[in-house]
Symmetry: C2
Subunit: 374 residues, 2 copies
Amino acid sequence: MTTTPPAEIGMPLEEVDTPALLIDLDAFDRNIETLAAMTKKFGVRLRPHAKTHKSPVIALRQMAHGAVGQCCQKVGEAEVLVAGGVPDVLVTNQIVGRRKLERLAAISKQAHVGVCADNAENVAEINAAAAHFNTTIEVLVEIDLGMGRCGVQAGQPALDLAKIIAGSSNLNFGGLQCYHGSAQHVQGFSERRAVIAKAGETVAGTVALLKENGLDCRLVTGAGTGTFPFEASSGIWNEVQCGSYIFMDADYGRILMEDGEEISTFENSLFVWVTVMSRPSREVAVVDAGLKSFAVDSGMPRVWQVEDTVYERASDEHGKLILGTGAPELPLGSKIKLIPGHCDPTVNLFDWYVGIRAGKVEALWSVAARGAST
Amino acid sequence: MTTTPPAEIGMPLEEVDTPALLIDLDAFDRNIETLAAMTKKFGVRLRPHAKTHKSPVIALRQMAHGAVGQCCQKVGEAEVLVAGGVPDVLVTNQIVGRRKLERLAAISKQAHVGVCADNAENVAEINAAAAHFNTTIEVLVEIDLGMGRCGVQAGQPALDLAKIIAGSSNLNFGGLQCYHGSAQHVQGFSERRAVIAKAGETVAGTVALLKENGLDCRLVTGAGTGTFPFEASSGIWNEVQCGSYIFMDADYGRILMEDGEEISTFENSLFVWVTVMSRPSREVAVVDAGLKSFAVDSGMPRVWQVEDTVYERASDEHGKLILGTGAPELPLGSKIKLIPGHCDPTVNLFDWYVGIRAGKVEALWSVAARGAST
């Protein structure tokens, strides 16, 4: 069940209960403006990924700065976005099964809805669901660029599937989904650039092959926070799908810090606010946030602006901090900020964003699509 | 916001939407009965840990089989349990700060409520909150048995804090919280037995010291699924706090499988039900459940009863399965069961339990305290 918010509008940050998911609204606004300006300069469309924030409020703020719509991974997320007023949603994922596809078809009557495919049988069931609702769904062919996850191979297999989509009564062929997920986390600017340059050749070849066969790609879409300058400047992709840029996290922080200024301009705007609940010794402080307040798949959270202090270990509802000799006192009841290791699955643990500006609570936004994984 | 359930009562399992959190009700019932019988035989009280299930419905089923109450980690969980009719709740954790402590004091007027402490200042603020609500709260001293997390040291420091509690106007001294968390996951039956034997000497010494000083321990409570037969047979602990036994998980499975029959009798009753959504090659199947449907802090989920098939890698909403030569076909749309690596934080990702018996949906229970981490 949805929990009550840990704060009230106007409350000083210090009084916000813990654990709470904080947004630094100034940094958040700057991240939105920065990426909007960069994509405008590159001349590509921006379709931010809502799997990061799961919030129509945030989606509409991104669109007010020029984003063309939203990406998401699940029908449940698309339903929440459309209900919240987002007019253009692309599910960057395969959706399988009648029940889910009929839900997708239903919302395609209220908004522009697209979905990805990598299988002819799946295309047939998408078409059947669209026909059942007397609607049209845009379908993109997903290409595997080397992640080894979903997607057909580039070239002929992509053309074969695109032809099936284009020949389906209730589908529009929308173009290509070309996302290289594993490239986002490759360490080193030039290494990432090389991976995307190679992927770009593959994508360009497939776009050309489709064109020779009379199939235009309205969308050649992909890219994430770790690589988008390469896709955006390639002349091949015409749309980028960054999600994490809006919040950043410890994992992306480690990767982007090594880079040139161009893609290290995003700021940490997302924090988990925690309380010191036990001080068993000089070296140890225990905070009230563990595995149920952080996703740890990309490592432990990073302590924000507290000297010589490391978050060492998480149990369900405990976080053990190790304090070095340069650490401050951190008495019982102290509150500090932590940077999640991985923002997307961390956001999915909370019901509320607490937006902070000038030291007080300015916004309480629902994480409206939290748990919407069907 | 709370999501809609992925199933309806009476629906065949095959039609349940994915990802869904399934309970095999037969195995679940047997786990409840097995532990109830074992603790009765040992002559100790059973107070199961609700941080595992977060459900008053499940709590009341455990109590119908003889459990004396519930443990939890957070005030938010205690509120949900008390509202759901649980008459006796022990927060096995430190609660710091006026706002949280007043919530705790408020529910102590509706149920018997206990909490742990390891700090004299904290005891004073618990007392102030209890006085503010004109109520009495039972406070236990938590002892650090070697985890290096919360708790005072055994012996004199525990006695000093117990005296402060006993001398507080609105507190009852309840005894000792003696939980050895890290021992639960020590590999090897005899190694775990040795760790708890050593901890038992420490606990016994402190109980005796308190008694010499006129302080009786109503509760000497602790233990988890990995070690409880040692605590329960020690003659020192009089209450055990097992949580995971009701569901089990891949991590406890690895540990308990090596043991004697006595503690390997719990069955996997908790599964995540997933759909194959992409079959990019003979060797790879991608399912629709990743980091937002599983906690991976204790490793990847284990595939249940599908030959030669391994869950290799999780991204936010994808799970990549590697199929060996002995694997079945697993066509697009197939549904399979996975065992979570770690049950507690996995349950916390879902809004609904789907209880299955004889192949059909028999129960839809809310994970009522999901996200209740404040």
